[in-house]
Symmetry: C2
Subunit: 374 residues, 2 copies
Amino acid sequence: MTPRPPAEIGMSLDEVDTPALIIDLDAFERNLQRLPERIAGRGVRLRPHAKTHKCPVIALQQIARGAVGVCVQKVGEAEAMVHGGVADVLVTNEIVGRQKLRRLMALAHLARLGVCADDAGQIDALAAAAAEAGVTMPVYVEVNMGGNRCGVEPGAPALALARQVADSPHLAFAGLQAYHGSAQHLRGWEERRAAIAEAIAKAGSTRELIERDGISCPVVTGAGTGSFELEAASGVYTELQCGSYIFMDADYGRNLDPDGAPTRAFEPSLFVWATVMSRPTTERAIVDAGLKALAFDSGPPVVWDEPAATYERASDEHGRLAVTGATNRLFIGDKIRLVPGHCDPTVNLYDWYVGIRGNRVEAIWPITARGAGY
Amino acid sequence: MTPRPPAEIGMSLDEVDTPALIIDLDAFERNLQRLPERIAGRGVRLRPHAKTHKCPVIALQQIARGAVGVCVQKVGEAEAMVHGGVADVLVTNEIVGRQKLRRLMALAHLARLGVCADDAGQIDALAAAAAEAGVTMPVYVEVNMGGNRCGVEPGAPALALARQVADSPHLAFAGLQAYHGSAQHLRGWEERRAAIAEAIAKAGSTRELIERDGISCPVVTGAGTGSFELEAASGVYTELQCGSYIFMDADYGRNLDPDGAPTRAFEPSLFVWATVMSRPTTERAIVDAGLKALAFDSGPPVVWDEPAATYERASDEHGRLAVTGATNRLFIGDKIRLVPGHCDPTVNLYDWYVGIRGNRVEAIWPITARGAGY
């Protein structure tokens, strides 16, 4: 069941119950603004990925700042976005199974939808579902950029699928899904530049092949928070899918800018608010946020309010901070901010964002696509 | 928001949408029955930990098989259990903050509650909250068994807190919380035996010290799925807190029995049901269950229905299976069972259990304490 929110509008931050997922609204709004500024004049469209935030309230703020719509990964996320007022949603993923395809096609009566495919049988299934629903569905062929997850190989295999889509009644070939996910977290700028240069070459030559075959390929969509300036300048990509830029996380914060310094493109705006619940020794502080309050796939959180303390070990409901004499300011009952290692799966553990301005709760936004795995 | 369930009663398993959290009801019921059988005649009580399942429907089945009540870690979990019909709930954790203490004490008007403490200031806060609510709250002193998380040191420090509780109006000293969590996953039986022997010695000598001081110490509570037979035979522990035994998980499955074989005490009954959504190459199958569908802190899931395939890498919404020629039976649209590496935080990602008997959906149970972090 959806728990009640851990806060009320007008409360001070100290009164917010823990663990809670809090947004520093000033930092968040600076991030929101900075991405469109960085790509201004490049002639590329912004379609942020809502898999990061899972919240139509945030999607509409991105659209108000120029985004053409959002991306999602799941039909349940697409439903949450469309039902929350988003008029243009691209599912950057393969959708398999009759139930899910029916739900996807039903949404196309309410909003502009799009979906990906990387298999001939799947294109047949999409065509049948679109025909049943009486809609024409834009389909993007997903191309493997080197992450070796979903996606057909570039070149001729992608052309064959594009041709099949173009020839299918009730489907419209919309372009290429060309996201290079595994390049986003390469630490050095030069490493990322080299990986994205390969993606640009693969996407560009595949688009050419398709267009030489007489099929229009209006969109090449991809890019993330770690690489978007490269795709924006490529002349190949027409649309950017950055998601994490609004929040950042400890992992993205370890990426380096071209000058070798930790990235300054965006700033942390998302925190887990936690309480010190036990101080059994001077070297040990236990907080009430563990594996059920934070994602650990990209490492432990950074202790934002007490940088000398390190989050040393998580168990299900506890986090153990290693502290030293210098950090013995952490007393039982103190509340502190933790920067999650990885924002997307951390957000998926919460039902509410608590938006903070200064020291005051200004906003409580429902994470309506939390748990929308299907 | 709570999503609708991924299944309906009477469906066949193949029709259940994915990712879903499914219970093999036959295996689950064998596990449910086996634990009380294993401790029969030992004179110890069973108080299973509901942090594993977060579901009062399951708690009541445990109680129907002889459990005296359940344990939880969070006030929100206690609320879910009491509101779901459980009459006896022990919070095996420190509860910090005025709001949470008020909620805890309010529950004591509806059910028998208990709570832990490891700090003198916290005992004062508990006493004040109990007085405000007009209840007498049973308090267990949590003792550090070697896991170095919460808990006061054994011996004199524990006695001092027991004395303070016993002398506090509105509090009743109930016993010792003596759980040795980090011993549960030591692989070899002899390692676990040695670690639990130390815990038994610490808990036993602390209880003696307290009773010599004229304070009755009726309960020593602790133990987990990896060690419960040792505590049951100890003559010191009076209550067992096993949680994972009902489901097991890949990590507990790697524990060894006294004969050196993988544990046969319980069997896997909890699975994530996933769909193969992409087969880009013969060596690669992508499923729709990644970091938002499975916990990875104890390693990747085991591919139950295709043991030759290994779950190689997770991203947020995808899992990459490494397959070989021998396992090329996995086609797009096929659904398979994955055994989670760690059951508790995996359960916390879902709103519903889908109970399967044979090939038919027999039960849909709400995970009412999912997300009950505060």
